[in-house]
């Protein structure tokens, strides 16, 4: 073990392990997006538009996700309604 290893062992995780963690998250995210059907972005927009016809919400208050669990797809729509 060199002197650098000696100092390193007590400090934060190595930069390579930070890189690995960040890559695993972004790659998983991008892979799940790739599996989404092409119509999804437009459908999301239309759902948001319908909700907005009735309730005043910002676009970030509506979260829409399509999740694939085994052979079952779940469309999850989360709307944060404003306080009355």
């Amino acid at each position: 073990m060199g002197i650098f290893d000696y100092f390193k062992s007590k400090s934060e995780p190595s930069s390579a392990s930070v890189a690995k963690d960040r890559l695993q998250i972004i790659v998983a995210h991008e892979r799940s997006k790739r599996k989404q059907p092409d119509y999804l972005p437009q459908m999301q927009q239309e759902i948001i538009d319908v909700i907005r016809k009735y309730v005043k919400v910002g676009s970030e208050d509506v979260q829409i996700q399509l999740e694939n669990i085994e052979d079952c797809s779940i469309l999850e729509v989360n709307v944060t309604l404003p306080d009355n």
């Binding site: 073990m1 060199g2 002197i3 650098f4 290893d5 390193k8 190595s14 930069s15 390579a16 392990s17 890189a19 690995k20 960040r22 890559l23 695993q24 972004i26 790659v27 991008e30 892979r31 790739r34």
Partner: protein, 278 residues
């Protein structure tokens, strides 16, 4: 030697691709194409990098280019006129890229015609892809049977490799026709064992974990690569160098042979390096 696909006149088409630029696609195409030819298979390496022809320089045949890929597609030359026979390695040919600035010079039908004609005569067709994930890269991978995804142990290269995997799985002919998917192979290049040991660089297993495709080989960062490109000799012919031997191992694995990984350990070079954690 027998053709890889049995007796039918079908060449195996291998694309060397990466998404990110400058990671070693051309170096790897030249080395692997040469390695396959050394095994006795009739091999052609095609430069798909329209406007940025470079394979000719790496293979040392730049002064023998008369006609190119686009000339053949446009019927301005025959394949026989455009193919350059390698001077060193038997059974090896190069089809140079065009220098035209017209990025649309390669049409899908044109490429298909050339590949079909080559397939009658060759065992392996290696396609050296341009960088990017757009049209040029998609053209190079469209007809592939196998892909060598060249990756450097660095965040943007790994992410781009995953993007190109997505394109191989959705925008290739095999994907569009619902055929068996393109065989995927990971080739990790410009690997620095010392920096991996220091925790400064992603390791082989880190990249394998993230991309989750089979590993074809690991090519260490090596001065021999620059030297080989200066001389116009594919680095695989430098059997004194770690990079050359690592490419040969990768070719052996591509042919289905088992080869243990090597050149991944830190070279111990005396007291001072050890003190510095080398």
């Amino acid at each position: 030697m027998k053709r890889p696909s049995g007796d039918t006149a079908l060449a195996k088409i291998i694309v060397v691709t990466s998404g990110k630029g400058g990671v070693g696609k051309t170096t790897s195409s030249a080395a692997i194409g040469t390695g396959i030819a050394l095994k006795g298979f009739k091999t052609v390496i095609i430069d798909f990098d329209v406007g940025l022809r470079n394979l000719d320089l790496i293979m040392g045949c730049e002064r023998r280019v008369v006609y190119d890929f686009v000339n053949v597609i446009n019927k301005e030359a025959t394949l026989t006129q455009a193919l350059i026979k390698d001077k060193r390695t038997k059974d090896l040919f190069i089809l140079p890229a065009s220098q035209t600035r017209d990025k649309d010079a390669l049409t899908q039908e044109g490429v298909q015609g050339v590949l079909e004609e080559l397939a009658k005569d060759f065992d392996y067709i290696i396609c050296d892809s341009p960088a990017g994930i757009e049209k040029g890269a998609q053209m190079a991978l469209y007809f592939a049977d196998a892909a060598i995804v060249v990756t450097n142990p660095e965040v943007s290269s790994v992410r781009d490799s995953d993007r190109i995997l997505g394109i191989l799985q959705s925008k290739s002919r095999r994907a569009e026709e619902g055929k068996e998917p393109i065989e995927e192979h990971l080739l990790l290049t410009r690997y620095h064992p010392e920096r991996v040991a220091l925790g400064e660089m992603l390791s082989v297993s880190d990249v394998e974990d993230i991309l989750a495709i089979p590993l074809l080989g690991v090519i260490p960062e090596s001065e021999a690569v620059l030297k080989a490109s200066n001389q116009g000799t594919p680095v695989i012919l430098d059997t004194e160098s770690a990079a050359g031997l690592a490419y040969m191992d990768a070719v052996d694995r591509l042919m289905g042979e088992e080869r243990p990984l090597r050149f991944l350990d830190v070279q111990k070079k005396g007291f001072f390096k050890r003190l510095l954690g080398g």
